[in-house]
Symmetry: C2
Subunit: 251 residues, 2 copies
């Protein structure tokens, strides 16, 4: 690919959009310039462009994104059949288990929720399609890492910020790699309060008819109601059933 096959103005604009996610709702030109590392004049042009297209509002001082930017993410969700295919299975799974069920894909060091059926609130943060969690400490993340070649899994861990969210969080690369190997062998991953105190989850990979992983599927439950051991007994059969049903449907 030649150098002129890259539209830097476009790339800069996308960087500006993402600058909003990391901090507050409203950004001034200078704030956006600091976050993105771009020149103030350049950021100003991008923001005014967003504003003129209706992706942002501008009150003369602050810029804020409008719901129209959801069209961009929606372009992915509606263009990719996966979320629409998986959603009804998640709804059924969630209802049978009486707990939240979700599906996610891997993007860099993070898993991204592509569909979700929620029962009562269990986590402190709100998850929805597009939400992200670090792969190393999420059950669906472990499943994805187990599906990668070992060197790539190690690479993801190396690029991750391995911090202990709770006293239970595994942060040592050796320990994590051993855990990932176990997940690969047993075909599921269980997380016991590594992400948040009080939250357990169990995940399996979603495979297509060629045994390639296309997503991860999980059930999350409050640790107060269900121990990690009970998760396995109660929910693994349901997850396996859903996994088998979807394997036939996918591609």
């Amino acid at each position: 690919m030649r150098e002129t096959d890259f539209v830097s103005g476009f790339a800069r604009g996308l960087t500006v959009i993402e600058a909003f996610g990391e901090t507050q709702q409203k950004l001034t030109i200078t704030e956006a310039a600091n976050i993105t590392g771009l020149d103030r004049a350049t950021v100003r042009r991008s923001l005014l462009t967003l504003s003129q297209l209706g992706y942002a509002d501008y009150d003369g001082k602050f810029f804020s994104l409008t719901p129209k930017v959801l069209r961009l993410g929606h372009a992915y969700l509606s263009a990719t059949p996966l979320p629409a295919i998986v959603q009804p299975y998640l709804d059924q799974l969630s209802e049978r288990a009486g707990q939240s069920a979700s599906a996610s894909v891997l993007d860099g060091t993070e898993i991204v929720y592509i569909a979700r059926a929620s029962q009562k609130r269990v986590m402190s943060i709100s998850l929805m399609p597009g939400s992200r969690l670090p792969a190393y400490c999420a059950s669906m993340g472990r499943v994805w890492l187990a599906a990668l070649p070992e060197s790539q899994a190690r690479d993801v861990l190396a690029r991750s910020d391995l911090k202990a969210n709770t006293p239970h969080t595994k942060t040592d690369v050796q320990v994590l790699m051993a855990e990932i190997t176990r997940v690969r062998e047993q075909g599921y991953a269980i997380i016991d309060q590594e992400l948040e105190i009080g939250l357990c989850s169990i995940a399996v990979p979603l495979l297509n008819d060629r045994n390639q992983i296309v997503a991860a599927l999980n059930i999350g439950a409050p640790a107060a109601h269900v121990s990690a051991g009970e998760m396995l007994e109660r929910y693994l059969p349901l997850l396996k059933e859903t996994q088998a049903a979807l394997r036939i449907v996918l591609r």
Copy 2:
């Protein structure tokens, strides 16, 4: 604003992203050029830029979006406090009603889901944050239109493609404006199978402490289980309660 304050390369790139939503998962350069109306060379540069940044995959023939584009929509969802604030209330509402509950904002002629708590599947299509429905035939859309000045509501209807999704769909502007006036007076909107056969829904506006509308809130239910009249009795009190609780919290 001067003409040079507009980055057309950025605007063109955003158009290219949205081109994916309207059709299939994969687009060739020529297809994307036809959908967007842009020059092939321009579209090609945009797509290669997306690919280089990790927002798209390219197999030499087809481009497809990656989950990374969800970061863009997520920039809005996480930058705007509204979805996170509303979500727990939706969860509770959905659980008490035993039906799906959602919140949305208006974007042009469409409502955009910003948060949702789903119970069992009732609609044929899958709704999630970022999903869109035409305002004129959705309960939350009617609530938003009722909150606008009459001239603006009429303008939205004029720009809408008023088609009859079902035999019950209201498509006449006079009839719709009369309905919108009624919604404004009674403070809620009921849709009886105008969007899809078998689906009823009831919506109320979410107001902040200055009585400005910030979102619409609804409960959807299968018509087979709940008649339109029962919707009112059963769910309006719940919606009103949630509305009142959120009025204090918002802004």
